[in-house]
Amino acid sequence: MTAAPGRPVLAIRDLTVALPVDAERAHAVEGVSFDVEAGEIVCLVGESGSGKSVTAQAVLGLLPPGQLRVTGGAIELEGEDLRAAPAARLRSLRGRAMAMIFQEPMTALNPVLTVGEQVREVFETHGLLSPAERRERVIELFRSVQLPEPERLVNTYPHQLSGGQRQRVMIAMAFALEPALLVADEPTTALDVTTQARILEIMRTIQRARGSAVLFITHDFGVVADIADRVVVMRTGKVVEQGPRDEILKNPQHPYTRMLLEAVPSLDPDADDGASASAAALEVRNLSKTFAGGGWFRRGRTVEAVRDVSLVVRKGETLAVVGESGSGKSTLARCAVRLTRASSGEVLLAGEDIAQLETGALRPYRRRIQMVFQDPFRSLNPRRTVAAALVEGPVNYGVPRPEALARAKRLLGLVGLGDDALGRYPHQFSGGQRQRICIARALALEPDVLIADEPVSALDVSVQAQVLDLLADVRERFELAMLFITHDLRVAAQVADRVAVMSKGEIVETGPVADVFGNPQHPYSRALLAAAPGRGRL
């Protein structure tokens, strides 16, 4: 556990990992060198494709066999060369001397074994403790990661736990044998901000108490600001800059680091958010949505996803709805565009109530309210060209084809793509480009209201900034009323004029961004803001 003085727990020298021959570039990771000392948290930061996860997997020898292969350099764990270690030695080090926590708590646990069994397995695998002691230890570990009712929870299956609880189980598993090195690959990315804050706190507490070395992989500079001792910035497989946290955050040397930091939206709202007095484009009154389950033999449980929500979005204004997963914000959006029918309440589109209209009567209104979805990789039909995607909507509403095509070309120019994009398929574009296409698709129908459901949460921070700029630009240009659904308070602060905070299906607070962020009234808004990572440092 305690490293010899002066020797890092993990030393990576000139690490090179080859990609398969037909890949875009030759190496996933090239000439990467850095150390992680005992008792230190080193954050490995970079955008998707930077090679940060590959580096982490290479350390544990978990690279997908047959696809990626370490071709050069050295990885030393407490002085032992891991590249030279035989498979059996590597296996015995895994879990005991080095452990890993993964990004997706939903899929990282075996669904058919109880969580207790899975943590116990760490001891079994390494032949430690008697069965009774193992049971004891697991309960202790669950207590140390602040899982409620550990005695009961050891016998539950992963699907019976929340995402945050599952990640705590993962942490308990990783720290079970007090490894010298813990590698955490985006461990909080899939979690809500308040859950994230608690998980980070737990990790840091245990790490400090045991003096473990932690290699923490993240794309989120807020998280970096909160927990890192040192930072290593990666880009396309290479380290561009490394140093102590404050040096990197306050005085970044490399232009790429500077660009990344500048792209992080600030929590301070823009100054010019004057109250808008234009006409209401979309108004939701007392909207509720209840989901009922059950079948022939069973009485189902009912879920009130949205409860008595009222809001107004004016022409040329952006209203951000912020909240954690399960708060009902997406259901609200889906009711507003009538992808689902609200249980009660009104949805007024320029004064007309569309909440309960039948399909036929609804048709003329569909055009006027359009939506941009979260995942640009899945919201475009992979077998249809961009032109087909952009032309379909207007043609459905009677626009002659040549005119629709001309409009599609204009819109592609507007969102920053050339005419040549028309004949191509979605898979030929990057995530950011696809989201631009989705925005163009929504605009092709010339809507009055644009609903954006987490439109940038699947994108890298630098791309995210560009798409947010684009959305602000089109809103102004077309005087759109925009309802912007997000879990990210920084994004909300950047794009919104007003903000509504949602919790458990209800809007708990609403007002101009500067007021809500500067002086939150409701306890939930305060908790949410306090949990935002990197607060005060970025």
Binding site: L60, L62, G66, R91, S92, L93, R94, G95, R96, A99, M100, F102, E104, T107, A108, L109, N110, P111, V112, L113, E121, V122, T125, H126, Y157, H159, M170, M173, F297
Partner: protein, 313 residues
């Protein structure tokens, strides 16, 4: 769990009721007079009248149905027209050979096919996988009677280790019973081993790509344990589905194997009865097969919930 079981049991009642109605109507759905059809081409009008009388065909349809369903529910499946023996007795005699053959085949299949499938998935794309899957394709392609005759030629005629044909009931002792069962079971297993090995391979291969496999590796779990506990267990649901289908197929239709090895099972009774237009026996067999399917499905459903806690709900 008991609630789930009860619910599933209740759900089998309407299924069996529909089957019963269809089986009853079987006799009346064909063109012409059922009695004349049963009696055959050379029957005298008196023969036909006798059959009609014996089957109660002169009664109104609903009375006939109620009488019939009442008999069925008390275990009386009627009298065979061909042999004049009770249908229930005819079927009961044939159940043991068929069950012995089916269960034996299933046992051999699962014991061989599942490890092979896991091994193929673990070494997907490598020579082991290719050999196994090539062998599976071959086992699919060769008809069971060819395999049967080859086995008889080699192990019964040339080597003389095992009997050529026939069946000995378990009551005659376990030794003769098993010796007579080995060759038919092995012959019949080939195609099912191929099928289940393929399904196991596909299912395990999919699970091996899951995140929790990586988690298990990060714990330092050995390969054997990884495959058995983390890959095979979650992969079993589709495998059990196919095993259930295989069992239902085995109970209902192993005519060729029964013929090659001269085993007096349900498959041969079915074929003989159809050829003799022995309607009461056919009706009884359909009821028995349907019940076997329904029970197999029930067992498979229950196994799902044992194997996957998420299905328990």
């Amino acid at each position: 769990m008991t609630g789930f079981l009860l619910q599933r049991l209740l759900a089998t009642i309407p299924v069996m009721a529909v089957v019963a109605v269809v089986v009853f109507l079987l006799l009346h759905l064909g063109p012409g007079d059922p009695a004349a059809v049963i009696a055959g081409d050379y029957a005298t009008p008196e023969d036909i009248e006798r059959i009609r009388d014996r089957l109660g065909l002169n009664e109104p349809l609903h009375v006939q149905f109620l009488t019939w369903i009442g008999q069925v529910l008390t275990g009386d499946l009627g009298i065979s027209i061909f042999s004049n023996l009770p249908v229930a007795q005819l079927i009961a005699q044939r159940v043991e050979p068929t069950l012995a053959l089916s269960l034996g085949t299933l046992l051999v299949t699962v014991v061989v096919a599942v490890p092979l499938g896991v091994a193929a998935a673990w070494r997907a794309g490598a020579w082991l996988d290719r050999c196994l899957m090539g062998g599976a394709a071959l086992a699919f392609a060769v008809p069971v009677f060819v395999i049967g005759y080859i086995l008889i030629y080699v192990f019964a005629i040339k080597l003389g280790w095992l009997p050529v044909q026939g069946y000995r009931p378990l009551a005659d002792g376990a030794g003769p019973f098993l010796r007579h069962l080995v060759l038919p079971v092995v012959a019949l297993s080939f195609v099912f081993i191929a099928l289940i090995a393929r399904v196991t391979r596909a299912s395990v291969l999919e699970v091996l790509g899951e995140d929790y496999i990586r988690t298990a590796r990060a714990k330092g779990v050995t390969t054997f344990r990884l495959l058995r506990r983390h890959a095979l267990r979650p992969a079993l649901v589709p495998v059990v589905t196919v095993i259930g289908i295989a069992f239902a197929l085995l109970v209902g239709g192993v005519v060729v194997t029964e013929s090659v090895f001269n085993i007096p099972g349900l498959g041969r009774l079915t074929v003989d009865s159809v050829l003799r237009r022995d309607y009461p026996v056919i009706q009884g067999l359909i009821l028995v097969f349907s019940a076997a399917y329904v029970i197999t499905n029930l067992v498979v459903d229950l196994l799902y919930s044992v194997l996957d806690p998420r299905i328990r709900g």
